[in-house]
Structures are given as C-alpha cells and as structure tokens.
Symmetry: C2
Subunit: 444 residues, 2 copies
C-alpha cells in the first residue's frame, strides 16, 4: 500500500532481559546474564529505537512472588532485576528518541519520591519519561514494607487515586519559566512562579513544592494496566495510555469500547487514552518455523516453574492438585478475583488440565500470542487495530534479543509498507510520539 | 619530591552545578542552566575523573529549606535539583573509573527501596556506588511526608542505625554465585544461596530477600557526615568514609582523633574509616588573584540569601536582628544544637556581626576555605594530611566549572608531583580506590 491512512499504530515493547515467556531464558538463542549487564539493555533499547517504537517499558515489583516455594522460584528468572528508574536513567544517555517508561507502585512508595524520580528522568531524557501506575497486591511485597498483608483492593485504589493526584500536583510546583537565574539582580527564581501544593487528604499530607524544576513534558506520560472496575475507573480518569491483557479479539474490543466509553463519560476525548493490548509474537520465515519455536518453549517450562507462577496468579497453591487432572473448583481469593476468574473461565471453556493451564499462563501471562510469518503477524495487528480493539500494541518478545530483532527486522517494515506505522520519529517527546496533548502549560 | 610515601590522599568532590559558595552562581565565570542539563554534569564528572578523584558526590534533600521566606529562597540556587540516584545512574554510562556517591535520607525512605537503588547503581557502574547516609532534620522535609515536624534527634538516629543494618542485610540476600542460569537443568538460581533476612525491629519489619543479585562491591561504600554524638557513634560503627566540616586544623585533628578512637574502640581497624574534611579552594595564579576571587563572591551574596541560609542553619529567624549589629544571644534550638553552637562560638570568638556571620556561612557552609596559588593550596592539604587531621579531602569548588578545572589542572598535578596522590587509578571499584577491605564475600 502506498496510501498512508491518517491513523497509525502506537507500539510499546516490554523489555525483560530473559524474555516474556517463562521458559524464554532457556531458548537456544537466548543470551543469558543480561539481568545485571547494562550492555545487554543498551543493545535492546537501541534495537527498539531502531524499530521506531514509541516507548520501551520496564516492569517491576518490590518483592519476590509470594505463593511459591524457593524450589519453584529457582526455576524461572523473574525473581530479581535492576531498579527500573536507575536503569532508564542510564538508558536515557544511550538513546535519543524512544520513550522510557517504568512501573512504580503507589502502595509502597511516597508520592514525593515518585514525582521527583519521574521528573528527573523526564529532564535527563528531554521529555521521554512515562510512569506505569500500579498497586501492589502480594503479601511478598507487603512483608518488605512493615506489613504482614497487602491492603485490600478498595483501599489500594483509593490510595492510588490520591497518590496520582498528589504527584500531578507536585509536577506543577513551578511554572515553566520560574527559574530566571539573573546574575545581575541576584534573583534565582521568580517567587510568584512557585506553587505550593498544600495537599491534605485521606492518605497523604504533602506540602510541596517539589524540589525540581518543571520537566520538559510537564507531566510525564501516565500508563496503567488495570482491568478491575476500580482499575478501569482510575485509568479512565487519569491514564494517557493503557496496557491490557486480552486473549481474543472480542475481549479486546469489549475492553476498548468499555474504557473509551468511560473516558468520554468523564468528559475526556476518547483519543486522550491510548489502548495497547499485549501481543507475544513468535515469528518464523514460515508458519511452521514459528510454530516450532512456540512448541519448543512450551516444552521447556519446568513443572515447578509452571506451578509456582500459576499459583501466584490464581492466588491458590496449585501444587496440591494432579498435574494432568482437570483444573478443580477453587475458593475465591479476594485479592486475585479478576485474574482468578479469567483463568478459571478459560480452563472450563477449553477443558484444561493443570499442566495445560500453566502452559497457557507461562505463555504470555494472559496476553494474546501470535504465531506466524512477519506478514501474518502484521495481518493480525492490522486486523485488531482496524476492528476497534486497539490504538496500538505492547509487544512482548518471548525471548531476547532474537525475539525483538525478529519483530524490528521483519514485522515493523511490513507495518511501515502498509502505512500503519511511522518510518521516522516525528516528535521529540513521548507525548508527541503517542499523539497526546501536552498538559496545560503552567502560567508564563 | 620523587619519593612517593606509602600513604596517599583520598579525594572526593561535591558537585553542585551552581557551586558550593552561595553566590557561586553569580560569579562571572559560572555557567548557568546546569541544574537540569545532563551535559553540564557529564562534563563535570569527566573533569573529576580526569583528575583521578576517588569519588564524586551529590548532596540531596527532600524538600526546600524551611526557615526562609520565598523571597529569601529565590535569591540562592540550592532549592531544587535532579534526584541524585537517577543522575548518578546516567553518569555511570559516561564515566568508567570514578566512584559515584549520593545522599539518601534514612528518615523519609524505606530500606528496601534504598538497598535496591544503590545495588542497582553498583551493578550499572561495575562497583563504583557509594551511599551518604543522613537523617533529615527540617520540618520542610517532614511536611512532604505526612508529618508536621521532623522526628527528634534520638529517634532519627535510632531509626538510622536500624535502617543501615536492614540495608546491609538486604545487600546480602544472595550469595555471589547464586544465579547459575543453567539452561539444561532449568535451574535459574541455586535455592541454597538465597538468604531471607526476616528482620523485625523497632522501626522496620522487612522480610527480604532483596530482588536484585548481590552487587559487585557486595556492599556499596557507606559515607556519613555526622558530628553530633549520635552521628559519631553511627559513623564509628558503620561508615567506610566520613565527610566533616572543620574550620581549623585543631578542630579537624580533634575530630580525627576522636572518631578514630571510637572506631578502634568498636574493634574496627582505624584505617577502615576514611576521614575527609571539606575544603573550599580559591585558586589563583597569584595569592592576590585568589583573594580577589574570594572577595568578589562575598560581595555577591544578596542579604536575603544570606539571612535565609543563616536562619536555616542556626534554627532561628535571623532577619529580626540588625544586619550590622552583633550576633545576639539565641534560644537553643534542639534540632540544630551542634551546628548552632559551632556558629555562635565562632561569632563570639571573632566578634562578628550578623552580616559577617552569614558571609562566613555562605562561604563554605562551615567548611575550611583555602585561598592561594596551587602550591599554597597543596601545602595546606599536605599539612593537614600529615598532621593527623585527614585521610584525604572533600573538595568543594565554590563555582563551576572553573573552580573544579582550576583544582584538577593545577592542584592535583602539584599533589601528584609530591607523591601525595595517585597518577592513575589502580583499582576498579570505589572500595579499591579508598583502600577499603571488601565486606565478607557471601558463601561460594
């Protein structure tokens, strides 16, 4: 196609050095040792930038997964990583256009620290910072922060809402032109351009101002990934972009319609929130080669790893049940309600065994998997994009670096040929990449 | 001298883009706009590395100074800066040998976050991270963290002691060789090499383990700067290196003797703690040129800036007193006791006016100022170093970048000619630069 339509996809990619698939690290092409080696991340980030991705994204948690034995934990790599804000700050030096986003929890942080860290990243990167707002919901995290159990869902979301509003208020502590630095008069900043927040709420009392100048984007981009009712409400009210796990086109469309409706209901333009379903691609020169890559990884999932991860997601210790028996009825675990229901519905629908269910979970953690040639993967993305299911995608390479290389070298050129994706960065900031309005510039 | 003595100085430098002197930003040679410009920091860090400094250091606070009016605050630059861990992470990419240290408060942080951030910096920099452990003691900071007032001195130090011990415990969460990443067996880490902290204390309950592999130094270097009794006790028990403000050689010697005695009293080798008094150098081609630089800066201190900073340090609003009258008797401010006494003793001794006292304070914030040619500055450092007052120095350039350039281009070669300072880095890590033992390597 030579006719570029007006509407173009937005693409994010989640960089986990061991890949998104639980057994990705065991793939013959996977390069190991990358968890703590900046050079590995440098190469990945530069590959993503070569692919003109809007943003690269680092996931995070503040503790190990909780329902696993040490033996189970030791079978999979997602146990430990570099603190993402430090890593993104370092990556800001070796990239120049791609957006840089990371998860930070509202449950076990203070808004003043979070506001400062992302404003700093936004300065360092000249306007490329994004914050993925999450709540923490494992006891494993709670126990690292003076608690026995994580707070309940309502309370976490009530705290999250206030947290985001405090952070946004702190980001507006200074007008854009507050720092005049006049050597002659000895005036460093204009005192009329300092804005003291004086926040007092249910969860936080934060006076401000933030001790950092307003950053290039004003407000770094807010990402969210909630699919619970509370999560959706928060996203509709505050998010600029949303990651979502959807297994099927219908699920993705339903989510898209529902969230855009809520966004409009709150008086925001539907285009103010970009919806990016996660896609785990297996790309081959032939469909058969791609299928073989996928099958090989499924077989490499160690049962301990599989059971451990399934237990964590479903909120129940699954090692008590026969591996090749049907998925049993389970007690509802309040903290895991939405994810648990998703998985049990799936097991019922497809009549899965425990082994098959963990195979499913370890294969993309609830995200949609596409297996095929570059053209077939592009077809799927185009179909979802043009069916009202997505404004773009969060690409989850199953193993690295080859999984990202394949996408950048083969799928992205195909999307570009079809006029569905940029061939060059047009803007400078992450907001510009995502086609988002800038937040109101402060008085000037 | 061609005979290099065995003992060599250690040199740190505090990088504040506007300089250490309150009026440093107004110096004709000062380059402005650097607070948020990574390129300015990159150049400064690379200059310090060219000078073979052991470590560059970033100060920090989590709020504005408290006892100043906005009008006063607006007259000096130390109000806002990049979050230092993010900045150091970025600097780790553009430097290769110099140590990278920053302040993080034990009062308004959680040990899990702090342990992770410094372990991350240690990984990113291949063993060059240092943490300057402080307690926060202004209400301006407290009010950004859900409190009206900062906790009292005893409580802050009791929390700081426990905080440091939790962080050190978390740094030992994994043996050095815990991550085996065996693709064949599907074993990612050796479960016998994970160490769960299970800390329960007066201030913190932290289960662990930290979700990051043990870092190259095992324990990043601990800096401290306390001069109160509690501060000294904490430093003697846990610090690897100590920054200290001493006006005179006698004060520096007294502090040195006292702290080394306490260190020995706790069963540690006196050489296990490096003592680095702060030195603000004014360097000229002639003594007269240096004196002229110093005088020019004193005259550039705006009275509002001077009064504001003096009030903050002394814990009392000083704008109520006549500028050119004697420094009056003041009520004891518990939270500022040690700094207040230092300043009042000085005012009595030298019969200072309020204006003269703020001139003194803004000129190096209680640190020793040396004014002269490069040889004269080197003489002073050598004299202190050889008189049992210092293991090295923390160099505080009054304005930047020229103040650092002068030291690196003129004083360091002089120290090197005298055999007092390295001509090349010999080790790879900050611990090695400082000649410190590595902490016990974990089981292997």
């Amino acid at each position: 196609m030579t006719d570029a339509p007006n509407r173009r996809m937005h693409l994010a990619t989640l960089l986990q050095p061991n890949g998104h698939h639980t057994a990705g690290w065991r793939h013959p092409d996977a390069e190991l040792g990358g968890d703590y080696d900046f050079e590995v991340y440098r190469k990945l980030a530069q590959t993503a930038e070569r692919g003109k991705f809007d943003v690269l994204f680092l996931a995070d948690a503040v503790g190990l997964r909780e329902r696993e034995t040490t033996e189970q934990l030791s079978r999979s790599p997602i146990t430990a990583n570099l603190e993402p804000l430090g890593l993104l700050s370092a990556l800001s030096v070796v990239t120049s256009r791609i957006g840089l986003a990371a998860t930070a929890s509202t449950t076990y942080n203070e808004p003043y620290h979070v506001a400062r860290k992302f404003a700093t990243l936004d300065h360092l990167s000249h306007g490329r910072a994004g914050w993925n707002v999450v709540t923490s919901f494992t006891d494993g995290e709670a126990r690292n922060f003076n608690r026995e159990h994580h707070p309940d869902h309502k309370s976490r979301y009530s705290r999250a809402r206030e947290f985001v509003s405090v952070v946004q208020g702190l980001w507006d502590s200074w007008d854009d032109d507050a720092f005049v630095r006049d050597k002659h008069t000895g005036r460093y900043f204009d005192p009329t351009k300092m804005n003291v927040l004086n926040h007092r709420g249910d969860h936080f009392s934060v006076r401000g101002p933030l001790n950092i100048a307003r950053s290039p984007q004003g407000h770094p981009v807010l990402f969210q990934a909630g699919s619970s009712d509370d999560g959706l409400e928060l996203a509709a009210a505050t998010a600029d972009a949303v990651y979502v796990a959807a297994q099927t086109l219908d699920e993705a469309k339903a989510y898209y319609t529902r969230l855009k409706g809520k966004v409009e209901g709150l008086g925001r333009a539907p285009s103010a929130v970009r919806i990016l379903p996660g896609i785990q691609p297996f790309i081959g020169r032939t469909e058969q080669e791609a299928a073989e890559k996928h099958r090989a990884l499924l077989e490499l999932i160690h049962p301990d790893a599989g059971l451990g991860i399934l237990s964590t997601l479903i909120g129940v210790d699954m090692s008590a049940y026969p591996l090749d028996g049907p998925v049993p009825e389970l007690p509802v675990t309040e903290s895991h309600r939405s994810r648990q229901k998703l998985l049990l519905d799936l097991a019922r629908r497809d009549n899965l065994t425990v082994r098959q269910l963990y195979g499913h979970v370890c294969n993309g953690a609830g995200h949609h998997t596409v297996i095929g040639t570059a053209a077939q993967v592009a077809d799927r993305l185009q179909h979802w994009f043009e069916s009202g299911a997505a404004d773009g995608f969060n690409i989850l390479p199953p193993y690295l670096p080859a999984g990202l290389d394949d996408f950048v070298d083969h799928v992205i050129p195909e999307l570009q040929r079809r006029g569905l994706f940029r061939t060059e960065y047009e803007g400078a900031t992450l907001r510009e990449h995502l086609g988002l309005d800038s937040p109101m510039r402060n008085r000037s």
